[in-house]
């Protein structure tokens, strides 16, 4: 089965909350609680990368995002042979941070994938441990 050959993430203590969140169908990211800072950030770490404050908290992001940039990969990574060509995208979350992802429920073509198009998160269950956050056009499949 091709799916099992895909490289999967392995959580660390600092990122466990993120992967617990995706498994529960939530996109959890972090923000700084310093009133002067309030920086929202990703990827996870136990302190604010802007002001170094350890006073940070996890929260559930809205899941709304826009398409910041992408490529359409024609040379599939091992395990991705049946998906090619497929977009590898970077999306900008409504809350500010950007993350790499794949785009689903949309044709993987330059015509269908317009920068700044509105997107929403969806979760792809890979196994009992891991669900990957992916993004689709806002308002459901096109």
């Amino acid at each position: 089965m091709a799916e099992t050959r895909k490289p999967l993430p392995k959580a660390t203590p600092e990122t466990q909350e993120f992967w617990d969140g995706t498994r529960a169908g939530e996109l959890r990211i972090q923000r700084c609680l310093d009133p002067q800072c309030r920086h929202v950030y990703f990827p996870p770490r136990p302190f604010c990368p802007k002001c170094a404050s350890p006073d940070v908290e996890w929260f559930r992001a809205s899941g709304r995002a826009t398409l910041y940039s992408y490529v359409i990969n024609h040379r599939p990574a091992p395990g991705f042979e049946e998906d090619a060509p497929y977009a590898i995208a970077v999306v900008q979350l409504e809350e500010g941070p950007r993350m790499m992802t794949n785009l689903v429920d949309v044709e993987q073509t330059p015509e269908a994938l317009q920068l700044d198009m509105p997107l929403e998160v969806t979760f792809e269950k890979v196994n009992d441990e891991i669900s990957l956050p992916k993004f689709r056009p806002a308002g459901g499949a096109r």
Partner: protein
């Protein structure tokens, strides 16, 4: 560093370049090192400082029979060698060593003794980038470009032109891997690798290496070669994850490194006779020209399109043919430095007339790191 206090006195590439299945990675380091030592009339016994990336300096020192008092194994990708030059200059000035050997060797194509390349699944890249199917730099380093295209109106034809112009330089270079002229149409008709990038907009994959020997400027005059003085240096890093770059239209590491080098050298852009910008992919010269300040934001593609960087143009760029057409072993920065040295010595295959100042700018990882070295054949 104090501008002009340290010089490159020895410089050479591996005897062969391109496909070298009979040498391992460490063998390529040694071949380049022995060629560079021969170039300046030294032997390994004269070397007391060793810097390299890919191999550890322990491996290289032991393999060559060197007992160093200073080593540097900075490995931040393809611009590591620019950082080695900068660190070596500081070490020589501080008296930590007198004569530094910097080596590069990579069996990028034949993969002999090359070690494995991988991302750990619990690293940040392994958790937040690799699961989405990138297959190496061609599908990662290229991700910012659609954003740049939207912000600045860069066209597919303009991106293709970068490869066309570099092939013009490569055509003059017998050691270049790809020498046949190409057109914008050829580039756009070449196989799609990762949209919007076609095969001819991606670097080569080759075997090879290079080495440099540095010493104090005061000693440099005693060597048989024409000294190439280090007059300005810079370095920085931004992020190991291309998805986390602050701005997809500009590299912070490029800007910081370039500014530092220009300030140190005390020169303006008009003083620059020759320029190397590490071109793993066709957008790198565009980002480099803008982030180093040679042109304004969004202006680099038109600057290249108008012929300013081609043979005979006012700012000769990547005159060996670059990573796109000359060679690219994986960490190309050493080859950019070698071409700057050749141009300043007056020995380049596509020699630019009257080069006095050369700027050599490198990238490491995927906009992860940067190093800039400014050199002159006149001591300031």
């Amino acid at each position: 560093m104090k501008p002009g206090s340290v010089a490159i006195v020895g410089a050479a590439e591996t005897t062969e370049l391109g496909v070298i299945p009979h040498l391992s990675q460490i063998g390529l380091h040694a071949d380049a090192a022995l060629n560079a030592l021969k170039d300046c009339g030294l032997t390994p016994k004269d070397i007391d400082g060793v810097a390299c990336a890919g191999e550890s300096p322990t491996n290289v020192a032991h393999y060559l029979g060197i007992t160093p008092t200073w080593v540097d194994g900075t490995a931040v990708g393809g611009c590591s060698f620019m950082l080695h030059v900068r660190h070596a200059a500081a070490a020589i000035n501080e008296g930590l060593c007198t004569t530094v050997l910097i080596t590069h060797g990579q069996s990028g194509r034949s993969r002999v003794g090359a070690g494995r390349w991988g991302v750990s699944p619990d690293s940040l890249q392994g958790q937040f980038e690799t699961p989405y199917g990138p297959s190496g730099p061609p599908s990662m380093f290229t991700i910012p470009v659609l954003r740049y295209m939207k912000e600045y109106g860069l066209t597919h034809e303009q991106l293709a032109m970068v490869a066309v112009v570099q092939r013009e330089w490569a055509a003059k270079n017998p050691r270049a891997m790809m020498k046949d002229p190409i057109t914008v149409e050829d580039v756009l008709n070449s196989r799609m690798i990762a949209y919007p990038f076609h095969l001819l907009e991606c670097c080569l994959v080759t075997d090879g290496g290079g080495a440099l020997v540095l010493t104090s400027a005061d000693r440099a005059k005693d060597f048989p070669t024409k000294p190439v003085y280090i007059i300005g240096t810079g370095e920085s890093v931004e992020t190991p994850m291309v998805s986390q770059m602050e701005d997809f239209t500009t590299s912070k590491a490029f800007r910081v490194s370039g500014k530092k080098a220009f300030e140190e050298a005390g020169i303006t852009h008009d003083d620059v006779d020759h320029l190397m910008i590490y071109d793993a992919f066709a957008h790198l010269p565009i980002f480099g020209l803008e982030d180093l300040g040679f042109v304004g934001r969004g202006e680099a593609a038109q600057f290249i399109w108008e012929g300013n960087t081609r043979p005979g143009g006012k700012l000769p760029l990547n005159t060996n043919g670059g990573g796109l057409s000359y060679t690219h072993t994986g960490m190309y920065g050493m080859f950019a430095l070698q071409e700057s040295v050749r141009q300043l010595r007056g020995t380049a295959p596509a020699q630019v007339p009257d080069v006095k100042i050369s700027v050599c700018h490198g990238v490491g990882g995927m906009f992860a790191a940067s190093g800039t070295i400014i050199m002159s054949n006149e001591r300031p």
